[in-house]
Amino acid sequence: MTDTEARLKALMLRGLDGDAAAYHVLLSLLNGRLRVYFARRMGDAPGDVEDLVQETLMAVHTRRATYDRAQPFTAWAFAVARYKLIDHWRRRRVRMAVPLDDYVEVLASTDPEPGAAMDLDRLLDTLPARQSALVRDVKIEGLSLAEAGARAGVSEGAAKVALHRALKTLTERMRGRADR
């Protein structure tokens, strides 16, 4: 237990100093632990575990500056996980859970329903221009991330993260719509 903490903390400190390899190892180790953590608490909806793991990893990454180097790392990381879990439950109480990605792919299919394409256009228009272009390129035109990234003038990694964010936003908006 304390071994784990010492190891994860050392990796995090190196990550904060810019060591991408150590940081990659850290996120991979966290991935496994988060999966167990969420799986134990999500008996009724195992499908959401993946979603929560990803959300937590994103939050750990984007908010890593809030980690205080003098404090235990595991406590910090699992406080983030706990927040995401509570947030998830809070949403579920009022909203039906919707799997990520599905909406866009369903809407994008060249299926008969004419309203769907318009719907998708309208939804995409609510995103920042760069994000909507990415979603169109990757999810509709079928470009690879590297190609879409090149088109938008960003690295593949950046395109991947931006696309993930865009899909999250879209899912949120679709949920919001289903409520009304």
Binding site: L16, S28, L57, A65
Partner: protein, 213 residues
């Protein structure tokens, strides 16, 4: 997207984070907020005409130290509560100690004078405007600090919002001291404190629903 792909992407966009990053960000918020309050003060209220003379007096600095100490408590609490599972307890104790110390001295002083004088001390020349002026001066910084908190990771949104409010109110009240010529501790202890805590309450009310991430 698969999780291992996400991890690759996140590690690929890694940039170093220096120690003390959160403190520096809130210090920048305070600088920007103080500047905004100062500009509003200069344009809207102006500085007190006797500022040069007053800056040599004890009460001017007493007032400034009090509001600055409240701002410091707010800064400390914001910086702690911006972190997951962060605790603002020590900052709260510090803030309460500042309130008790200043309030205690103000009460002792007020008890030493006649009831009529006490009432005059309390009302001063501007009691009806003081609290509201401080609240208005604090708004730009309150917006900034809540925006900053939202980009960090507060897990207790109401407490974090309150901390941001006291932080902003304390800075605004310090700037307001450049305009306000009141010198009674009773006056400062009531109306300035109300302004700072009022800003905290607004921060808590907004933080409760706005500080989600």
């Amino acid at each position: 997207m698969r999780t291992d792909e996400l991890i690759d992407a996140l590690a690929a966009e890694l940039r170093p984070v220096r120690g003390g990053a959160i403190q520096r960000r809130f210090a920048a918020v305070a600088a920007a907020g103080a500047l905004a309050a100062l500009v509003i003060l200069l344009v809207w209220l102006g500085v007190r005409p006797d500022l040069d003379a007053a800056a040599g007096g004890r009460m001017f600095w007493m007032k400034a130290s009090y509001t600055f100490a409240l701002a410091l408590a707010g800064f400390w609490a914001s910086e702690r509560l911006a972190r997951p599972a962060g605790s603002g307890r020590k900052a709260l104790i510090f803030g309460l100690a500042v309130l008790a110390l200043f309030g205690g001295v103000a009460v002792v002083k007020a008890l030493g004078v006649s009831p009529l004088e006490r009432l005059l001390m309390l009302k001063g020349q501007s009691w009806s405007r003081c609290t509201l002026n401080i609240l208005l001066l604090s708004l730009p910084m309150l917006g900034l600090s809540l925006w900053m908190l939202r980009r960090l990771a507060p897990t207790r949104p109401t407490a974090a919002g309150f901390a941001a409010g006291v932080f902003s109110g304390g800075v605004a009240a310090t700037i307001y001291g450049l305009h306000c010529a009141e010198t009674a501790m009773a006056f400062v202890g009531v109306w300035y404190t109300l302004g700072v805590l009022g800003c905290g309450v607004i921060g808590a009310a907004i933080g409760r629903w706005a500080l989600r991430w």
